[in-house]
């Protein structure tokens, strides 16, 4: 080719090739999107002034820059132009106004977009910003796991307005994930799983093998996961467990108990009911389910062990939530007799509780398995090392899909959430030789846990953005009162400040300001049902009078709230304490839809018939002013009462006194009901 022609051609190609990038630039999609927004705004604007704002818009990259928040730059608003524009409510994406949540749309300058939604904030093209390509470094949070964004800043277990996240965190704690996996903030986590020391005296080899094969099949309330063990593994582990020596005092207690005469099954049945065992345990599907199911309890443990355990559960498992009931020896024998008569698996083989004859070789192999599967993480014994058995979970929510090992799972989409969901439902399906056991989570739990996992960031958000709700002081008195509290395991159900369980709806943090001492003493000795609709009730633990008095005195002294007035009527005109006016309010506000006075009203709230006997007027008044202040999940609505109205209502309620002849329900009456 002649040189001139070549020169002309190559010069033209040179020009053309150099022009590509600027042309590409001029055609970047955000420009046409901004033009569309302008058109849409002009069409939707209702005033000339509003329209002129749209007309004057320049096409330019928009960004939210938050230097204090990891120097975050979010350019999402380059396309999502209407996120805080009320004109764009209900407009088609990408222009729609952000749906209202706690932080939006008012707080964009403080939080930006990627803090909650993730994605690549710097990007100005859709695919890059949303991270839609499979190996994207910053994929957006899928809508199903949106609440994981809340968990980045909100690090408490329960997060208001993030139900899925809260459920996920609670489920993780309950399933004991933190026993094997290290997670920031859960360094002190200890599993409630029982130690093994007494297993040889408790149950039989056949039962243990059944249990190891699938704990949930034996007890639907089981928290222990399924380790998917082979038959040989099970035999070896069982041998190991039975080779562990039982501490002599426990063995002696079990032996003595098994030698005791049989009890009265009918008495035991009554006692079982009034002790409110199903507040925690389940029988025939009834009960809270936070403790083992008792349907086949007599097939799970020997009679001697049951008697010895109920007498002193804390000796067998120092961490158990079960209170030590003050039953008489005969009471316990009766209870266990009832178990043996009715709560047993009649189809179970006879030898299910026969102790296992230990083969030391198998036991040694079992010991290896025990260590290999990290059983010691939950069942604390001598093995426990300093470190968590499983991999750390901190930062799991920031893992890139490309850094994950999908192993054999070729069926999964290459995303972090799909990987996590599969890990949770079938942990061993990724490769051979994995150790994580199978938990039987339902889809709702799985979604919640993945949400919680995705909220675990590698680095915590900077200080002003990290939110941990203030901890309430949670003092538990030491000394004799402390012993009583420990013996009856009050903390298993009641909250003391930020500590304690959530089975009871009555936190004890300010109980002293709430109830009268005398009522409290009688209640502790013989609890009555306050909210008939609730299945969880205070069990009758046969607390003795001196114990009850000590406890009540401590509560009246320590557990008070200074903001609750002793006498709300002090210094107020008499008209403010007019019970007549209060009674009228009671009717017009519709209180009776939930509360009973006398014989009429709903069963949802506690009956108010004996208000004066039970409650202090200062509490009633403080409660009426703002029920949610005392417990965020109180169902009683805040009526927004004026001070005077609250006082009048209090005055009316304080006129209600329990009839002097009111029957203090005896055990027989209650159980007959």
């Amino acid at each position: 080719m002649p040189l001139r022609r070549l020169f002309a051609l190559s010069s033209l190609a040179f020009l053309a090739v150099l022009a590509v990038s600027p042309v590409k630039n001029a055609l970047r999609p955000y420009r046409s999107i901004q033009a569309q927004y302008k058109a849409l705004g002009l069409a939707r604007a209702t005033s000339m002034k509003a329209a002129s704002v749209y007309a004057d818009r320049q096409i330019a990259i928009q960004q939210i820059w938050i230097p204090k928040f990891d120097n975050r730059v979010d350019r999402c608003t380059t396309c999502h132009l209407g996120v805080s524009d009320t004109v764009m409510a209900g407009a088609p994406e990408p222009f729609r106004m952000h749906v209202a949540t706690y932080h939006t749309p008012g707080d964009f300058p403080r939080f930006g977009c990627t803090a909650c939604h993730a994605g690549e904030g710097l990007a100005t093209s859709k695919d890059d910003a949303h991270g839609t390509s499979p190996d994207s470094s910053a994929p957006m949070r899928p809508a199903a796991y949106m609440e994981s964004g809340c968990g980045r800043c909100h690090q408490s277990e329960t997060v208001d307005e993030a139900p899925t996240l809260s459920y996920g965190r609670a489920t993780m704690a309950k399933a004991g994930c933190y026993a094997c996996h290290a997670v920031r903030g859960h360094e002190d986590f200890r599993s409630d799983a029982p130690p093994f020391v007494s297993i040889a005296s408790k149950t039989g080899g056949a039962w243990v093998e059944q249990w190891l094969a699938d704990p949930k099949k034996v007890d639907p309330n089981a928290t222990m996961p399924n380790f998917q063990l082979s038959k040989d593994d099970i035999t070896e582990l069982a041998n190991y467990l039975f080779s562990l020596p039982v501490p002599p005092q426990l063995e002696q207690a079990v032996e003595q108990a098994s030698a005791e005469p049989a009890g009265n099954s009918a008495n035991g049945k009554v006692l079982f009911r009034e002790s409110m065992c199903i507040t925690c345990h389940t029988v025939d599907g009834k009960g809270n389910g936070s403790a083992p199911e008792l349907n086949h309890i007599a097939t799970r443990a020997t009679r001697g062990w049951l008697i010895a355990f109920i007498r002193n559960p804390h000796a067998f498992n120092p961490k158990t939530k079960m209170p030590q009931y003050s039953f008489s020896d005969q009471d316990v024998r009766d209870l266990v007799a009832y178990f043996e008569d009715e709560l047993r698996d009649f189809d179970a083989p006879k030898e299910i509780l026969d102790p296992l004859r230990v083969n030391q070789t198998l036991a040694d192999k079992g010991h290896e398995l025990f260590k290999n599967y990290g059983c010691f993480s939950c069942h604390v014994g001598t093995e426990r090392g300093g470190e968590r058995f499983g991999p750390d979970l901190d930062g799991i929510g920031d893992r890139r899909a490309s850094s994950l090992d999908f192993g054999k799972r070729t069926d999964l989409p290459h995303t972090l959430d799909a990987w996590l969901a599969a890990k949770i439902s079938a942990p061993r399906s990724f490769a051979d030789g994995l150790k994580m056991p199978k938990f039987s989570f339902d889809p709702e739990q799985r979604r919640a846990i993945v949400t919680a996992l995705l909220s675990m960031s590698s680095a915590p958000v900077p200080e002003p953005y990290r939110y941990i709700p203030p901890q309430q002081a949670s003092v538990v008195p030491a000394g004799q009162v402390g012993e009583i509290v420990d013996r009856y395991r009050c903390l298993s159900c009641h909250q003391f400040g930020s500590r304690g369980g959530d089975i009871s709806t009555a936190p004890l943090t300010f109980e002293g300001s709430k109830v009268n001492r005398d009522w409290l003493v009688s209640y502790l000795m013989l609890p009555t049902s306050i909210r008939p609709l609730l299945p969880e009730r205070m069990p009758i633990m046969k607390i003795s009078k001196p114990e009850a008095e000590k406890l009540a005195d401590a509560i009246e002294t320590f557990y008070v709230d200074p903001s609750i007035p002793e006498n709300p009527f002090a210094g107020r005109p008499a008209a403010d304490a007019d019970p007549k006016e209060g009674e009228r309010l009671y009717t017009t506000l519709g209180c009776r839809s939930c509360h009973i006075i006398g014989s009429s009203g709903g069963y949802y709230g506690p009956p108010l018939t004996d208000t004066h006997t039970r409650l202090k007027p200062g509490w009633v008044y403080s409660y009426l002013m703002n029920p949610q202040k005392w417990r965020a999940d109180i169902r009683c609505p805040n009526y927004g009462l004026t001070d005077t109205d609250a006082l009048r209502l209090t005055a009316y309620l304080e006129t209600l006194v329990a009839a002097p002849a009111a029957p203090t329900a005896t055990a027989e009456q209650r159980s007959a009901r």
Partner: protein
């Protein structure tokens, strides 16, 4: 050349455009008459240079338009990607590190290569090189065979096959070139190759082979993979 020199004196350089050079008889430069054709640099060379530059830019721009420069996630000192590969021109070196102790592969060998390259124009063998087998002697044959075998054994001891195999092949080719002056054109071409060219070819083949292996055939943990096998970082 013994005619007397005629001298013309003048003060007008325009009128008398002669230059005079005096030199000693024994110091005349040897001027070789050349029939080489010369052309004007502008435009002949300059236009070609411009076109060459444009073609380079066009090629690079096309590459830049269709292939993005790699950018992985931000550096994370605690997470090593697997495999951690250096840029391609160092992968030969990295491949060597797979076989030899670091001090050998990382320092000794590169240093030898650089020194070798620097001394090339000062080595007599490079300047006078005639075909390797232009002169033969039994000694040359024996020492060559010895060197090839010694090198093969040395690298074989480290099971560094990407060096051993080319060494043996090139050694075989060298021997095949022997007495090739009158043989087939193919062998004649081989016969013409000089010793330095043999050595350089040996080096280039090995370097290219190591680099190609490093770039295309190494996966996680520097294990062997086929380029068509998918591996995940």
């Amino acid at each position: 050349m013994s005619a007397p020199i005629e001298l013309i004196e003048s003060n007008d350089p325009v009128a008398v455009p002669w230059r005079v050079a005096l030199m000693r008889r024994d110091s005349r430069p040897a001027v070789r008459e050349s029939d080489e054709k010369y052309v004007m640099t502008f435009p002949h060379l300059i236009v070609r240079e411009i076109i060459m530059f444009q073609l380079v830019v066009i090629g690079l721009s096309l590459a830049a338009i269709f292939f993005d420069a790699p950018l992985e996630s931000i550096a994370n000192p605690v997470e090593t990607p697997n495999p951690a590969k250096a840029p391609w021109y160092f992968l030969g070196l990295q491949e060597l590190l797979h076989y030899f102790p670091p001090v050998v592969a990382g320092v000794l060998m590169p240093a030898l290569v650089v020194i070798g390259l620097v001394v090339i124009p000062y080595a007599r063998v490079n300047l006078e090189a005639g075909p390797l087998w232009a002169t033969h002697s039994r000694g040359k044959l024996a020492s060559l065979t010895l060197v090839v075998l010694a090198l093969s054994l040395l690298f074989g001891a480290f099971s560094c096959w990407p060096i051993v195999i080319p060494t043996l092949i090139i050694g075989a080719a060298m021997l095949a070139a022997r007495n090739g002056e009158q043989a087939s054109p193919w062998r004649r071409a081989l016969w013409r190759v000089t010793l330095p060219e043999w050595i350089m070819t040996w080096f280039v083949v090995i370097a290219a082979l190591l680099t190609i292996i490093g770039v295309f055939f190494r996966g996680p943990g520097w294990s062997w993979v086929w380029p068509w096998e998918q591996f995940r970082a």
